[in-house]
Amino acid sequence: MAKLRLIFVKEGRAVYISHLDLLRTFQRVFIREGLVLRHSQGFHPHPVISFALPLSVGQASECEILDFEVTENVDCAALPDRLNRFMPEGIRAVSCAGPVRPVRDLSALRCQVELVYDNGVPEGAAGAVAALFAGESVVIQKRTKRKEMADVDIRPMLLSLKISEMQTSLCLEAEVSAQNPGLNPALLAAAVERYLPQYTPDFVRVRRLETLTADGRAFR
């Protein structure tokens, strides 16, 4: 009996698979591979698997984390390739290891928020965006769990930010707080829309790049 952790990529067409659907998808991938997972006890046993940090629908990621338990010895190094034969397009396991570090140690995410401007990045956008996030607080409106709108200051959850300008996009590479509370990187774009409406992008692409511990090292 061992607790294992799978790191996988979710991109392309697979970004539209919701959290619950992804759970079902992985349960089936394990069955196709013939890997027996530990099941919950009780009347309706189900495999014990969980994702560390649910990813919003539409966002891509290079560092998704799936924790599961197996009942027999497993060759971790070989597992990603074994599983990849049975994945839907856009999901790809990259590594597997165990035993695992507790998820509470996952403190930050490095991610890329791409602000796309179809007619080219407007003059002054890069500087204005940098200045916006250099401030002490950036309050935006966010829908709460009770479906009310509430003011949230996202600035304290933004740990670092690098901005690079391409021809038709501004690329924000940000480190954001991962949990308790965590920041959905898409809200960086929401802040731009609120405070710099003249620089509202035509489209926003979000991609998780790496999970980090408090001391800035890769979380595995």
């Binding site: 089936r28 994945m87 839907p88 397009e89």
Partner: protein, 611 residues
């Protein structure tokens, strides 16, 4: 295409159903392909992907070399709006290429309410709706499925219909098309040649003329088209394709499980049931093959649910053996095996009890009518005793929720028959009181009634549907008669059933009505939240046609019915005989007990299946 799609997908509900990329979706290199087939389902992804026939034909076509079959479904209203605004035409999920660029566009049409969704999909593709306006061979628009036994309402829109089962027929049509494309045939030449293939019906090759009263005076085939387009069937189920390796959607669909088709056809011959007549004769898959397919399909898909499917699964001769063969595997692999469409008899109940592990959620029975007289008239050979015995077993076995399905408006129905439904429900409550193993949970009896829709190729194809007022009166009568607190009564919305009755037995003049209703916004009529009868009534008025002519009129024996150029092997003489027996409440034994000479045995050279 993806660049444009990416912009709109964040704004629509359940975007995963619009992108493809699922496990086992077939991807091919376009350079290896000379025929591209867009397989369109005129309903949502969740419905279409739940259709076993759709999966079978997807597998059959992709098994052909040089053919790439891709899928397209009707977008939900939010997605459709976004697509139209962003100028994205209907596209196929596998490649993302526009459907209008395909060689053949094929619709699978299970029932009449999908017609406008088909028109909407053609329109979203940017294609002219009318067959005659698409003058080139490519793209060819074809349609199959049960609704095509009367293709007349869509005769103006499709180039040809495929009658019956498509496993062999569709490849033959594709091969002919391949030749026509290579030799650069005109569309007309192709259609004339296609009409010679058994199972192909080319509406444009038949001229229909009418009497002054609106009934048909003649149907005349042109250019060598056959007098009757005769349905195709698969002869040997064991040799026919079964999709072991099939697409596993990445988002939840309606029937999200492995479906094992145990047989086709039905031995029962319920007189209202179109499927029961048009899928004749009964053809079984062997038990051993089913056990193997079931295990392989579970291993390949990773599903943990499996269901046995057919028109009446308790009639599978080797059902116990089949369940024995699957049970151990299913238990070992945490697979839940379920058996829908069981008859209300004891044998089925015992089987249910054996297989049902854990939750005993609900059981459904379909007595269809409230009195024995009417059940005999419709040839639903279930007795009240059968039902009582089944309920006893169910209640003593721990079930506490039972659904009972009935139809209102069946031919010969009287108020006594309607009230009989309430009596059956009350009787069910009494049975529960007497036999329930655990009374603490209470009991829930749900009575559901639908409004009978007469369909082509049934014993009731000549019958009028009762009027809306009369239907509503009978609903009210039943509602007042159901007094027990434990009984809930649901009835089907009348508007949909009325239109279904119009379209089911419609002639090709309804094409104009379909188009007019579509132009007024009808496009997902199978969904009650999108359906509006007023649009249709306006459309009828605009076209100068009366829907009651189609729904509420009794046909005479000698009337030329709009679908007379189609044959499902079951003869009109037989159907009329069944109708007369219905009026005398005389039952017809099932096909296994005695052959009653319907005509379907010509398929097997005079010998039908005996189990």
């Amino acid at each position: 295409m993806y660049k444009k799609l990416e912009r709109i997908l964040p704004r629509v509900q359940k975007p995963a159903r619009y992108v493809g990329g699922e496990y086992n979706a077939v991807m091919k290199d376009k350079r290896d392909v000379d025929i591209r087939f867009a397989f369109c389902f005129p309903d949502t992804y969740e419905i279409g992907m739940s259709n076993l026939g759709f999966r079978i034909l997807y597998g059959v076509m992709n098994g052909m070399s040089g053919v790439w079959c891709e899928r397209a479904f009707a977008p939900w209203t939010d997605m459709e709006e976004e697509m139209r605004r962003a100028d994205i035409p209907l596209y196929a999920l596998e490649s993302g290429d526009p459907v209008r660029d395909f060689d053949i566009i094929g619709f699978s049409i299970g029932y009449e309410m999908a017609y406008t969704a088909m028109l909407n999909m053609l329109d979203l593709s940017g294609l002219p709706l009318h067959s005659e306006q698409r003058t080139a061979l490519t793209p060819l628009v074809v349609a199959g499925g049960t609704a095509m036994y009367n293709a007349e309402p869509v005769a103006d829109f499709i180039d040809l219909a495929l009658i019956g089962e498509g496993e062999e027929l569709l490849p033959e049509v594709i091969e002919l098309y391949r030749r026509a494309k290579a030799e650069k045939w005109e569309k007309q030449r192709f259609l004339r040649a296609a009409a010679q293939i058994q199972g192909v019906y080319v509406p444009s090759l038949y001229t229909v003329s009418y009497h002054e009263d609106g009934t048909i005076s003649a149907i005349v085939p042109q250019d060598g088209a056959p007098e009757k387009a005769v349905k195709r069937v698969v002869h040997d189920m064991d040799k026919s394709y079964y999709p072991i390796k099939t697409i596993v959607p990445s988002t939840e669909i309606v029937h999200d499980r492995v479906t094992l088709e145990v047989f086709r056809g039905c031995i029962r011959g319920c007189r209202f049931c179109q499927a029961g007549y048009v899928y004749r004769p009964v053809r079984c898959r062997s038990k051993d093959q089913l056990v193997r397919y079931g295990q392989e399909a579970i291993r390949d898909s990773g599903y943990q649910e499996m269901t046995l499917s057919s028109l009446s699964t308790s009639d599978y001769p080797e059902l116990v053996g089949l369940c024995d063969g699957l049970q151990e595997f299913c238990e070992q692999h945490h697979v839940n095996l379920s058996l829908p469409s069981l008859r209300a008899d004891n044998f089925s109940m015992e089987l249910m009890q054996r297989l049902q592990r854990g939750r005993k959620a609900g059981l459904t029975f379909a007595p269809e009518a409230g009195t024995q007289r009417l059940r005999d008239a419709i040839n639903k050979n279930v007795t009240e005793d059968d039902l009582t015995e089944s309920l006893k077993t169910a209640f003593s076995g721990g079930w506490s929720a039972v659904k009972l399905y009935f139809m209102l408006g069946l031919p010969t129905e009287t108020d006594e028959d309607v009230l009989g439904i309430a009596e059956m429900a009350n009787h069910a409550v009494h049975t529960w009181r007497e036999y329930a193993s655990n009374k603490n949970r209470g009991v829930r009896i749900t009575v559901s009634t639908s409004w009978f829709v007469p369909k082509p190729f049934t014993a009731f194809q000549w019958e009028p549907q009762i009027t809306m007022e009369e239907y509503e009166r009978r609903v009210k009568l039943l509602r007042q008669a159901i007094t027990a607190k434990a009984v809930t009564y649901n009835w089907h919305d009348g508007d949909t059933s009325f239109l279904e009755a119009v379209l089911a037995r419609g002639d090709r003049r309804l094409g104009r009505v379909l188009e007019a209703a579509f132009r007024r916004g009808a496009k997902l009529d199978a969904w009650s939240d999108c359906f509006d009868l007023r649009r249709w009534l306006d459309a009828f008025a605009a076209c100068g046609l009366d829907p009651a002519f189609y729904a509420n009129r009794a046909r005479t024996r000698d009337e030329i019915l709009p679908w007379s150029m189609i044959s499902c092997h079951v003869s009109d003489a037989y159907l009329w005989r069944q109708r007369e027996l219905a009026y005398q409440s005389i039952t017809t034994p099932d096909c296994r007990t005695r052959c009653s000479g319907c005509g379907a045995n010509v398929v097997e050279g005079g010998e039908c299946w005996h189990g």
